[in-house]
Amino acid sequence: MLADPLARTATTARSVAARPGRWWLPASLVLLAVALFLGVMVGPAGNWGSADWNIIWNVRLPRVVLAGIVGATLSLSGASYQGVFRNPLVDPYLLGVAAGAGLGATIVFAVGRASTTTWLIDPLPLAAFIGGLLAVLLTYLVGASFGANRNGVTLVLAGVAVTSLATAIQAFVLQRNTEVIREVYSWILGRLTLANWGDVRLVLPYVVVSSAVLLLHRRHLDVLRVGDDEAISLGTQVTRVRLVVVIAATMGTAAVVSVSGLIGFVGIVVPHAVRLLAGASYRRLLPLSLVVGAAFLILADIPGRVLQDPAETPIGVVTAFFGAPFFILVLRTRGRSLG
């Protein structure tokens, strides 16, 4: 115990200013580099040395890059949603993005890919993107009309309702077009099988904008941790922050879902893992989720390519395989430690 008050203040100041865990970000970047390396090294056409450069450049590399982009976006969006709704079990598909995108994709499959391949732009990602956005818009309209602005619960319930609606319509469409069931399932389970540089170019603008907006708002998510009322009294415009974050996260999610299908678990598992290791402050959580999410999905895609070589294992299956037990583990530790 230091008696001199000035010295005391200096010590506290140092303790306050020091950012604990400053090395988490560099560590996660190293992880990402390792993941990228492994991802490019390993594949059904052979390892780096033996595989044709044509294959590596045209097929493997865009797939690895896309996996990274999708993983990063889903994790970042998931973490952002968790901040805005103050619930660590929230995933990026919460407000109906998944169901809406799925419905959009189903409609395109049902109308017939054959009749649309002559179009200037591929309607599949477009329909998925629009479907996702419309679903969230509908969720917002429904939730807001029931006073969802005070807390997030009503909005979440509205999301559940919209998801059910979109799923029901999708089931109805599938009923009438049973021959496309396999294609729709394949899309739903998530696929990076067709990844090419075109897909990467397609999603990059949306993902960059969305990520930038979300990262810029991470300090506000920390303020929101004390609840809407206190955050307002501290000068934060809670409704606006929530709206901006939801829009940005939804846009990013809809964009990646439109090219990669529905890959589950990433948006919950990664932020959770990061929280367990690096703490719950959103200031750290958001950038770490981004980087770790990218690494996670790149690594998860490797068994997808290699497990049943040369056959593919859908990546949605791989993430569920690892995600579900992890989830159970998290529930157990959380239940014990923080009650």
Partner: protein, 259 residues
């Protein structure tokens, strides 16, 4: 030091008037304590001042209406300590107090050296330096109460609102908290408005009391004039005896009505 004026303040929840026609001026540096039975409207006045509920009438700080200000500017003027503050278990003490600097940090900005120094100094003065890096979950009730006040102080706002600051504390911590607020208000020249249940403590620390009943002020003035048995009996429906100590402290003691 700033003054806080209420002009014909009214707050409605649905069709119910929680507060109507409340007019009062709190002088710079004064401590006004709102008392009254549950549902009298005490919290509503504080929440309206903090910008949490819409209201009719005007609330002015140093003569200019709060409603014209942005929420950030309002937060620079008014610090609000709610009845049950949310203290996330996994947040550290320093992070929590840093939230008090929110009004001074730009929308896309980060805290400055000055903000961090401010947080450090507040933690020291409230004897919470050891908790800078410790999670809130490890702190006791009394320490948490001090921490919440620390955050309010970090806001550097001339007006401090306290909603039932002592309800969850034992008698020792109650005194500590109120002594702390009293000390700080003198050090920083704060104008304090609190809502309290404990009448004796209210009278002990506040300069002036305002007794509210069903949304209206029915008595206002120093403790001795407001805390009278017949007044309290009429509006609280309670039977009390009031004692006056030598040093002027007014003590309210409930009386048993049954034999």
């Amino acid at each position: 030091m700033s003054s806080l004026a209420f002009v014909d303040l009214s707050v409605r929840y649905g069709r119910r008037d929680a507060i109507a026609g409340f007019t009062d001026t709190v002088r710079p540096g004064e401590w006004l304590c709102l008392i009254g039975p549950n549902g009298a409207g005490k919290s509503s006045i504080l929440r309206a001042t903090a910008g949490l509920v819409p209201h009719g009438g005007r609330i002015e700080v140093d003569g200019s209406p709060l409603s014209l200000r942005s929420s950030r500017r309002r937060a620079e003027l008014v610090a609000y300590v709610p009845q049950s503050p949310n203290l996330p278990d996994d947040m550290t003490g320093a992070e929590y107090v840093l939230l008090g600097r929110n009004p001074y940090i730009g929308y896309f900005g980060v805290e400055s050296q000055h903000d961090l120094a401010m947080v450090a100094s507040v933690l020291d003065r409230l004897d919470l330096a050891d908790f800078a890096r410790r999670p809130l979950g490890t702190m006791s009730g009394g320490e948490r109460q001090r921490l919440v006040i620390a955050r309010a102080i970090a806001q550097e706002a001339p007006i401090l609102l306290l909603d039932e600051p002592t309800s969850a504390l034992d008698i020792g911590h109650q005194q500590q908290a109120l002594e702390l607020v009293d000390r700080l208000r003198r050090e920083h020249g704060l104008t304090v408005v609190s809502a309290m249940h404990d009448l004796t403590l209210a009278g002990l620390y506040a300069d002036r009391l305002a007794l509210l009943h069903q949304g209206h002020v029915v008595a206002t003035g120093p403790a001795a004039s407001v805390l009278r048995p017949e007044t309290l009996s009429e509006f609280y429906g309670v039977s009390v005896s009031v004692h006056h100590e030598d040093d002027g402290t007014v003590v309210v003691v409930p009386r048993r009505t049954s034999a």
